[in-house]
């Protein structure tokens, strides 16, 4: 066990994967000598050589498109997109190609690959260095979408994603890169995809969240208990697609009162699917309507981002609201 920040855990995960499997290659903009703008890939070029960790030209389409080609020909590419806000030039390669290749070729060609990218607010990045685009991808059959919120999960889910036979979009909560620290097993270890993580036990209200919202929800849940004696069951979804729907419904039924939290805008956001799933499948267990706490339906602001992002106060209000419904 080592005590690592989330970014250190990712770096450790990449090193572990590259050391154990020669077919793992890491590339993207500035991931080589510079080690990536957040230093997730620091030291990899030194340790594994320029053939296995290298910079690419400034083209997300090229990064993802060539990753698909590498993947179908025996490599395990781990491509980095510098910010999730800049992934859209590669949207066609992700949605039309990586996600549909196995299906359209009847399994003759496949794309086992990982696309890592930092997402979310909290760094004063304004419109284009703050977005949470998970809903754009979670609607895409054939793709897997993973978001860790702890150093342990960051490494374990990353290694599971690299070994997965299907393309995985690995969204990293940049706000947590250096703000969370935790015990991380050394060497090879994986956390299964499509499994939920119970962050906190409770029987009054269930709160679903993921990524950078997890610590915010934990704070709010603690306050709810201290200040109001409301016990919250906090669930970190971790894998958004394919989702462990049974697990979600199970957790919802345990309390009959549900809050869903994410940074992304509300309208057609990921929370809509969670809310709909629960309302459609366990209405008889529900004591209150599901409450969504999300970013607003606007682009992401800069100076006022702390008003835009859901915080513990907004989550606490929601917990109380569904509790008192």
């Amino acid at each position: 066990m080592a005590n690592l920040t989330l970014i250190q855990a990712l770096n450790d995960g990449l090193k572990t994967a590259m050391a154990n499997d020669d077919s793992v290659v890491v590339f993207g903009e500035d991931v080589g000598p510079k080690g990536g703008v957040f230093l997730a890939t620091e030291g990899l070029t030194n340790e594994f050589g320029e053939q296995r960790c290298f910079d690419t030209p400034l083209s997300e389409d090229g990064i993802v498109g060539t990753a698909v080609g590498m993947a179908m020909n025996g490599l395990r590419p781990v491509a980095e997109i510098q910010f999730q806000d800049f992934i859209f030039p590669a949207f066609d390669q992700i949605v039309s190609e990586a996600a549909k290749l196995r299906y359209r070729s009847g399994g003759q060609y496949t794309a086992p690959m990982v696309i890592r990218t930092p997402y979310g607010g909290g760094i004063r990045g304004g419109l284009y260095h703050s977005q949470s685009g998970e809903a754009y991808f979670a609607h895409t059959a054939g793709l897997k979408v993973v978001i860790p919120s702890t150093p342990r999960d960051a490494k374990g889910l990353l290694l599971a994603s690299i070994q997965d036979p299907d393309p995985v979009l690995f969204l990293e909560p940049k706000a947590l890169y250096r703000s969370v620290k935790g015990e991380v097993p050394e060497g090879e270890f994986t956390v299964d995809l499509s499994t939920l993580r119970t962050v906190r036990e409770g029987r009054d209200v269930t709160v679903f969240c993921y990524g950078a919202m997890v610590p915010v929800v934990e704070k709010a849940a603690a306050q709810a208990e201290e200040q109001r004696g409301i016990k919250s069951l906090v669930v970190d979804l971790r894998t958004l697609l394919p989702l462990d729907e049974e697990g979600v419904l199970e957790a919802a039924k345990q309390t009959g009162r549900v809050v869903v939290v994410h940074e992304a805008p509300r309208f057609c956001g990921y929370g809509a699917e969670i809310s709909a799933l629960i309302a459609e499948n366990c209405i008889e267990y529900m004591e209150a309507p599901v409450k969504r706490v999300t970013g607003f339906d606007t682009p992401f602001p800069n100076t006022l981002e702390h008003h835009y992002l859901p915080d513990d106060r907004r989550v606490l209000d929601a917990i109380e609201e569904v509790y008192n419904f």
């Binding site: 290659v25 053939q51 690419t56 030209p57 083209s59 389409d61 090229g62 993802v64 498109g65 060539t66 990753a67 698909v68 080609g69 590498m70 993947a71 179908m72 020909n73 025996g74 490599l75 590419p77 030039p89 066609d92 390669q93 039309s96 190609e97 549909k100 290749l101 196995r102 299906y103 359209r104 070729s105 009847g106 399994g107 003759q108 060609y109 496949t110 059959a141 054939g142 897997k144 036979p165 299907d166 499509s194 394919p242 989702l243 729907e245 049974e246």
Partner: protein, 371 residues
């Protein structure tokens, strides 16, 4: 217009002592493959018109480019084709019936009936990469696959084929750039057939031809007479040679002409000037190669009649077998989305199986939808 590499003169002659590196049998195989493509085209068109299949793509005019390029590749090489490269697959012995299974989208179709006709996918006897409808997306795939081959020290060549319109796609820009930076073993074959559906070259780009686009990427390029099978073969052989030697990618522009419509849904008379079509009909690539065989004493009317009969028969039999093959099972809707079928898809599948049981396959007739 930059001058083009040509090998076979209009009368079929080649320069003294020129050696294409093909045996007589192989030369005849090239010719037969072109006739096979024509037979495939003609029968597919008829079947589309009579509603037996939904769609097809004519290859008339492009046969020499397809077959010439394919003849320069090894079975260990990869082809990343466009939807207008039937000849590349047929040359390498992909069974006509396999291709017909795709035209009918039946249970034996390698794509399991999920794709439109002409969206082939094969791994044997050569890797003929799964065709995608979006233009240009397969170009960076060839580059990535080539990077993998290079990294493992193989001498595999990855040929990617695309049209004049394809050069405007984003995949062309990123694929060409990455390949040149990586010195990846890729052959970029641009089939300039005059049109992108109805869009002529001068509305597609202001450059003088397409090969020159390689300059933007510091990549060597050649322009070849696309109706000259041996010229295309030579250009691809040279480019493949460079690639195998680790000297990096090459772009080849093959200048040819789409003598048919873009697809069976298209009416080219709306936008292709009659004179232009007539001009190119005089340059028919099959006739050009026939003359060459004749000069070599490999052609006679008997040979012609036999080959035409053969190829038509081969396609007919294949079509019949494919048409008689059952449709894919309902499970093919849910399999291959992921390596394993996740729970939500399992549930959705069970729902559909149950539903179609309840309603009886009767209701499952095709063409319910208009247009």
């Amino acid at each position: 217009m930059t001058d083009m590499l040509t090998v076979i003169a209009p009368d079929g002659a080649t320069k003294k002592g020129f050696d294409a590196g093909l045996s007589d049998e192989e030369l005849v195989h090239c010719y037969r493959t072109m006739l096979l493509v024509r037979a495939f085209d003609d029968i597919s068109l008829k079947m589309q018109r009579s509603g037996r299949i939904g769609f097809s793509i004519p290859n008339r005019g492009i046969e020499a480019t397809q077959v010439g390029a394919a003849s320069a590749l090894r079975k260990t090489d990869w082809i990343f084709p466009s939807y207008r490269d039937f000849g590349m697959a047929l040359y390498h012995g992909i069974p006509t019936v396999e291709m017909m299974h795709n035209m009918f989208g039946n249970a034996k179709d390698s794509a399991k009936g999920r794709q439109m006709p002409v969206h082939f996918s094969f791994v044997e006897p050569i890797r003929f990469y799964s065709i995608s409808s979006p233009i240009g997306t397969h170009i960076p795939h060839a580059v990535g696959a080539a990077y993998a081959s290079k990294m493992r020290g193989e001498d595999t060549v990855h040929l990617t084929s695309f049209g004049d319109g394809g050069t405007s796609s984003i995949g062309f820009h990123s694929g060409m750039n990455f390949a040149a930076v990586w010195k990846a073993p890729v052959v970029f074959l641009c089939q300039n057939n005059g049109y992108a559906i109805s869009c002529p070259a001068d509305e597609q780009t202001a450059s003088d031809g397409y090969a020159i686009k390689a300059e933007a990427y510091g990549m060597p390029h050649t322009t070849v007479d696309g109706n000259d099978l041996l010229a295309v073969r030579q250009a691809v052989l040279d480019a493949a040679e460079r690639a195998r030697k680790g000297e990096g990618p090459t772009m080849i522009e093959s200048v040819t002409f789409r003598m048919g419509g873009h697809s069976t849904s298209d009416d080219p008379t709306k936008y292709v000037p009659k004179e232009l079509l007539e001009e190119w009909e005089k340059k028919d690539p099959v006739e050009r190669f026939r003359r060459h065989l004749e000069k070599r004493g490999l052609w006679s009317q008997d040979v012609e009649d036999r080959l035409r009969k053969d190829t038509l028969e081969e396609v007919r039999v294949a079509a019949k077998e494919a048409e008689d093959t059952a449709k894919p099972g309902l499970e093919t809707i849910f399999s291959d989305v992921y390596a394993d079928v996740p729970n939500h898809l399992r549930e959705q599948g069970e729902f559909l199986f149950d539903l179609s049981k309840r309603r009886g396959e009767a209701a499952a007739g095709d063409g319910e939808f208009p247009l």
